[in-house]
Amino acid sequence: MTQPLIQLRALTRRFETGGGWFTPARSMTAVRAVDLAIARGEVVGVVGESGCGKSTLARLVLRLIEPTSGQILLDGTDLTALPRAALRAARRRMAMVFQDPYSSLDPRYTVADVLAEPFVVQRRPMDKGAAEAMLADVGLPASVAASHPHQLSGGQRQRVGIARALALRPDFIVLDEPTASLDVSIQAQIIELLSGLRDRLGLTYLFISHDLGLVRYFCDRIVVMYLGAVVEVLPRPDAAPRHPYTQALMQSNLSPDPSRRRAIAPLAGEIPSPFSLPPGCAFAGRCPRASDRCRTERPALETAEHPVACFHPI
């Protein structure tokens, strides 16, 4: 097997809060020992609900947040060991598109300033007409270059964000819920755009989302997270779920087809606080299949064609 473009090894991030005069010290593991390899040209989806650690994972992969332990390998080079200058150089090969197209652009910058920033930061010459070409790549007219973000619609802003991410022709892009704050008609535009760019530029994506339907449409492989840990990796988007949580997610995803109505059979309970996790499987409290073992022992993600972290997989 060829070397993966991105490889995460036991990537972990803990957060400590409080510990001051008035707040008790608490800690949580936002991302727990995640192993993941992403091949060149692959689109890997990460799906989960709030508090599952998907956004922290997205930032860890780009070392926007420092990992507590573990490694991030880009083409075999460990990013966690790189000094600042080398990390800056490595950033040319990676980029990120953010969820909120409103706050991800500096309100004082024009679109032209936004597009020039990657070149300024990386001290690279910017060709004349590069901005126009970048805008054309994301389907925007050259005339928006002089606009400020507040003059653009949400969809246009997100296109500017994508153009900025593409500026230095990276290999790998982390997409952190790039359509979550957009209307569905715009969401479809952006997904189409990302899809086309991937085919044309041979990009590799890590696609973070809470929308399982969208992830199954867009991604080659799907990582399911619950409370900081990977519970299942679906090898194909249409693979049948093996983890009870994945199954519950799929059943909660309502099909936009009235001829295929199902009784809504929700999962009981809510996501527990990540600050006080039970010792065993984090999902045990809500799981219809849980046994005593699940409540005392934490299941590991097995290494298989279709990995799942569960003592009683489906």
């Binding site: 990120m96 953010f98 706050s103 991800s104 652009l105 920033e117 930061v121 990386q122 900025r164 500026a167």
Partner: protein
């Protein structure tokens, strides 16, 4: 800058801005606007109420009050704006450093700043003038230090708020270093609210200067300042109320104008929410 011009297009902004421009004009050209000198005594003319010859009357030495008011504008406005200017500069550096570096330095700055902030500016200024000695320089320094806490707080709050914005994270993801983020993103965005609040504080500083002058700690005779004029007038308030009345009105109207113009600027710059959150 364009926002300043736009603020003039609002009715309140135009009236307030007009008054401020007029005050600056009389401060600059004080010497040529009236036929009198601010410091030549004419005891025969003393204690004259307002009249066609002396629009605002004369003081106990027979000096024309309008002339002194114009010259006083020069002292009062320059002392307060220079003091606030220095204060803003220092406060921005201190606040930006605290907000940027965080950690122990930030905590130390915050404790000191919060402590001084809860003391009235007049008290801080009084003590400082006592240390430095009275006069315009002492007043400037005292006012500057008295307002340092406010600008440090505000700048720090702005930086902290902006640090959490996604566009900062976006710049980092491109490989931007600290200098780029601080000077190209954080400070430019923090500037507008800090400058507007500096303008508003200049109004408070005019009052503070007047109060120090009232205690005889401001500009020393014969230099006229609004505060010194009121100080002299306070002893004569029952005999010649006009001596103290007009400088007080000048202070009040100027400060109202500064506030109204500041409001217009805040509206134009659309930073009301940000200024409130940081307060």
């Amino acid at each position: 800058m364009r926002a300043v011009l736009r603020a003039f297009r609002r009715p309140m902004g135009a009236i307030a801005g007009g008054w401020l421009l007029a005050m600056i004009f009389v401060a600059v050209f004080a010497a040529w606007l009236t036929p009198y000198d601010y410091d030549i005594q004419a005891l025969k003319e003393a204690y004259q109420p307002p009249s066609p010859a002396h629009w605002l009357g004369t003081d106990e030495f027979g000096r024309d009050l309008l002339t002194r008011l114009f010259h006083g504008a020069r002292t009062s406005l320059s002392v307060s704006s220079i003091a606030i200017g220095i204060s803003v500069l220092c406060g921005m550096v201190l606040g930006a450093a605290a907000g940027w570096f965080g950690g122990r330095f930030d905590r130390a700055v915050t404790v000191v700043v919060d402590l001084t902030w809860s003391f009235p500016e007049i008290l801080i200024a009084l003590i400082l003038v006592a240390i430095i000695g009275p006069g315009t320089t002492g007043t400037m320094a005292a006012i500057g230090v008295a307002y340092l806490a406010q600008f440090t707080r505000l700048t720090r709050a702005q930086i902290m708020m902006l640090k959490g914005e996604t566009f900062i994270e976006a710049a980092r993801s491109l490989g931007a270093g600290n200098a780029h983020i601080l000077f190209r993103h954080l400070l430019p965005n923090a500037l507008a609210p800090v400058l507007v609040s500096a303008m508003l504080a200049t109004g408070d500083a005019i009052i503070l200067e007047a109060t120090l002058g009232f205690f005889g700690l401001g500009a020393q005779p014969p230099t006229p300042s609004w505060g010194a004029m009121m100080s002299a007038g306070s002893a004569l308030v029952f005999k010649a109320p006009w001596i103290i009345l007009f400088p007080g009105l000048a202070v009040a109207i100027t400060v109202v104008a500064i506030n109204l113009f500041g409001d217009a600027l805040i509206a134009e710059l659309d930073i009301r929410a940000r200024m409130r959150r940081a307060a």
